[in-house]
C-alpha cells in the first residue's frame, strides 16, 4: 500500500515507487474554506523541496502550496480548473494537485508519517 507523508505546512505526498502524488491535507482544506481556484505548475517543471509548487485560493485569500520534496512535475490535476471545490470534497483523493518524480528519496525521511501528522494537527 502506498505510504503518505506530510509536511508541517500540511502538504501530503503519497509515494508510489519513484513518484509521489502531492496535495493538501484534510486539515488544510478545512482551514482554507471553500477553494475557488487552483494554479498548477507546468508539467516538466523542476521543483525544489520547500519551493512554491502551486497556489490555492479560497474566497478569502491565496495560499502557496510548497513541494514536499524536490523533483520534476510529471502530471497535474487538470480537473481542478473546472472543479476547484474537489480540494474540499476529497483532498486525499480526487483533489490531488500534482505528481512529482522524486529526485532524492532521502528527503522523504524528514516528513511526518500518518500518525505523527495526526498528532501534530491535534497539537495546533
Amino acid at each position: 500500500m502506498a505510504e503518505t507523508r506530510y509536511t508541517k505546512d500540511h502538504e501530503y505526498i503519497r509515494i508510489e515507487g519513484d513518484t509521489g502524488t502531492v496535495g493538501i491535507s484534510d486539515y488544510a482544506q478545512g482551514q482554507l474554506g471553500d477553494v475557488v481556484f487552483v494554479e498548477l505548475p507546468t508539467v516538466g517543471k523542476a521543483l525544489a523541496k520547500g519551493g512554491e509548487a502551486a497556489v490555492v485560493e479560497s474566497v478569502k485569500a491565496a495560499s502557496e502550496v510548497y513541494a514536499p520534496v524536490s523533483g520534476e512535475v510529471v502530471e497535474v490535476n487538470g480537473e481542478l480548473e473546472a472543479a476547484p471545490g474537489t480540494v474540499n470534497e476529497d483532498p486525499a483523493g480526487k483533489g490531488w494537485f500534482l505528481k512529482i518524480r522524486i529526485k532524492d528519496a532521502a528527503e522523504l525521511d524528514a516528513l511526518m508519517g500518518e500518525a505523527e501528522y495526526q498528532d501534530y494537527v491535534k497539537s495546533l
Partner: protein
C-alpha cells in the same frame, strides 16, 4: 502551504466582544480579530454557502462592532448644518424617516470614513440624526466630529446598542412575521417599531446589494431579536467573509481598502452621494477639490474589473495596459460566488476607465487579461 499575511492590526489589545459573541461561538463560528473585535468570519456552512443563501433567502449578520451615535441639537436645521460642515451630502433637505450615505472628508477632500446618516421619523426627535460609522474608525470619527460641533449640538455615543443586518430577497417576509410594519418601508428609510416585542430602530438598507434591513436595539435585547429571526427556516447566520464577497459583487466600497484619506469621493465614483445643492454651494471640507474634480474631471477613478480567467486578483494587484504600462492598482478583489468567477475593483488612470477597456492584472508576475466592467457585478435587489 502558507496563507498570505492578512493580519488585522487594529486590535492589538484584548479583542472586544459584541453582545452576540457567545451566540457566534455556540453556532460554531470561526472567530477572527476584526477592527478590535472578535468577530465571526464564517459559520460551519462556509463562505460560499453563506453568500449564496443571502442571495437566495435571508442572511443574518452581526454588525454590532460598527459605531452608532446620535447628533442631538435644538432642531433639524441646526443639527443638519453642523453635520453638513463635515460631509458633502445634503442633510438639511433629508426628509424625516430617510437616510443617506455619505463620507467624512478631511480638508484635502480625502475620505476619513464613510457613514450612514438617518433623520428620525418621530417629530419628538426633531434635531436628532443617527449615524453609523465603521468600527475601525469610530473613535477617530467621534473625536473628529465632536471637535467640530457647535456648542448647541452634542454627539452621544450609542454604545449600549447592538446592530444586526437581515439581508436577502427573503428578508422582508422573515422580518414582517415579527415586525409587520417593516414590509411597508422603502429603500433607505427608517422607522422605530417593536420587533418580537422589543423596541428597535429599523432601516431598509444594507451592505450586500440585496433588499434588507439593519436593526438597532438595546445591547441586552438584540440577542432576543437575533434568536427569533434564526427560528425562521429561511434565515441563517452569515459571517464577515460572505459579507465581503457580497459587498464586492454589489460594487460597494470597503473603507481602508477602496476608499481612504488619499481618495476623494469623486475619484471613488461616489458622485451620486453628493446632492446638487452641496455641489454648488460647497461648504464642506475639501469642497474646493471636489468641485474642481466635478468640473475638470479626475486623473484616476475607481472602476470594476472582471478578470477573463478564473484566477482572482487580490488587493494590491497592479493594473497594466496591454502594452505593459502600469496604470492602476486593485483595491478589493476576490471570487464572486454569484458571478461564479473572479471580480475586483480598483483605481485606474481616467483614460483607461471606460467599460469594456481591455487591461491586464499582474497576478504573481503574470499578466492576466481583464476588462473594465460596470458595477454592480450582480444586479441589486433594493426595494425602491
Amino acid at each position: 502551504m502558507a496563507a498570505e499575511a492578512n493580519t488585522d492590526t487594529a486590535g492589538a489589545s484584548a479583542p472586544l466582544k459584541t453582545p452576540l459573541h457567545a451566540r457566534h461561538v455556540a453556532l460554531g463560528a470561526r472567530m477572527v480579530p476584526f477592527a478590535g473585535y472578535d468577530m465571526p468570519v464564517q459559520y460551519p456552512a462556509g463562505i460560499l454557502t453563506e453568500h449564496n443563501w443571502t442571495r437566495e433567502k435571508a442572511g443574518l449578520f452581526d454588525v454590532s462592532h460598527m459605531g452608532q451615535c446620535f447628533l442631538i441639537g435644538p432642531d433639524h436645521e441646526t443639527t443638519a448644518k453642523a453635520l453638513e460642515a463635515l460631509i458633502p451630502a445634503d442633510i438639511v433637505n433629508l426628509a424625516p424617516g430617510k437616510q443617506r450615505y455619505s463620507q467624512l472628508l478631511n480638508e484635502e477632500g480625502g475620505i476619513l470614513d464613510d457613514l450612514m446618516v438617518t433623520r428620525s421619523i418621530d417629530p419628538d426627535e426633531d434635531g436628532a440624526l443617527y449615524l453609523v460609522v465603521n468600527a475601525a474608525c469610530k473613535d477617530a470619527d467621534y473625536a473628529h466630529i465632536e471637535a467640530r460641533l457647535p456648542a448647541n449640538v452634542k454627539l452621544v455615543k450609542a454604545e449600549h446598542r447592538g446592530l444586526i443586518a437581515l439581508q436577502g430577497p427573503g428578508a422582508e417576509a422573515a422580518l414582517a412575521k415579527i415586525a409587520p410594519e417593516a414590509a411597508e418601508m422603502g429603500f433607505m428609510s427608517s422607522r422605530t417599531m417593536k420587533v418580537a416585542g422589543i423596541k428597535a430602530n429599523i432601516s431598509r438598507s444594507g451592505y450586500t446589494g440585496e433588499d434588507g434591513y439593519e436593526i438597532s436595539a438595546a445591547a441586552n435585547k438584540i440577542g432576543e431579536i437575533w434568536d427569533t429571526l434564526l427560528l425562521d427556516g429561511t434565515v441563517k447566520p452569515i459571517g464577515l467573509g460572505a459579507r465581503d464577497s457580497l459587498r464586492l459583487e454589489a460594487g460597494l466600497c470597503l473603507y481602508g481598502h477602496d476608499i481612504d484619506t488619499t481618495t476623494s469621493p469623486i475619484e471613488a465614483a461616489l458622485n451620486w452621494s453628493i446632492q446638487k445643492r452641496r455641489r454648488e454651494e460647497g461648504g464642506f471640507p475639501g469642497a474646493a477639490r471636489v468641485q474642481r474634480e466635478l468640473a475638470e474631471g479626475v486623473s484616476r477613478i475607481r472602476v470594476g474589473l472582471k478578470p477573463e480567467g478564473r484566477a482572482p486578483a487580490r488587493e494590491g494587484t497592479e493594473i497594466a495596459t496591454p502594452g505593459g504600462e502600469v496604470i492602476g492598482v486593485v483595491t478589493s478583489g476576490g471570487f464572486g460566488p454569484t458571478l461564479n468567477g473572479p471580480c475586483a475593483m480598483g483605481y485606474v488612470a481616467k483614460a483607461h476607465s471606460a467599460p469594456g477597456t481591455q487591461l491586464n492584472l499582474i497576478v504573481r508576475g503574470k499578466p492576466l487579461p481583464a476588462v473594465v466592467a460596470t458595477m454592480p457585478f450582480v444586479p441589486n435587489g433594493y426595494k425602491r
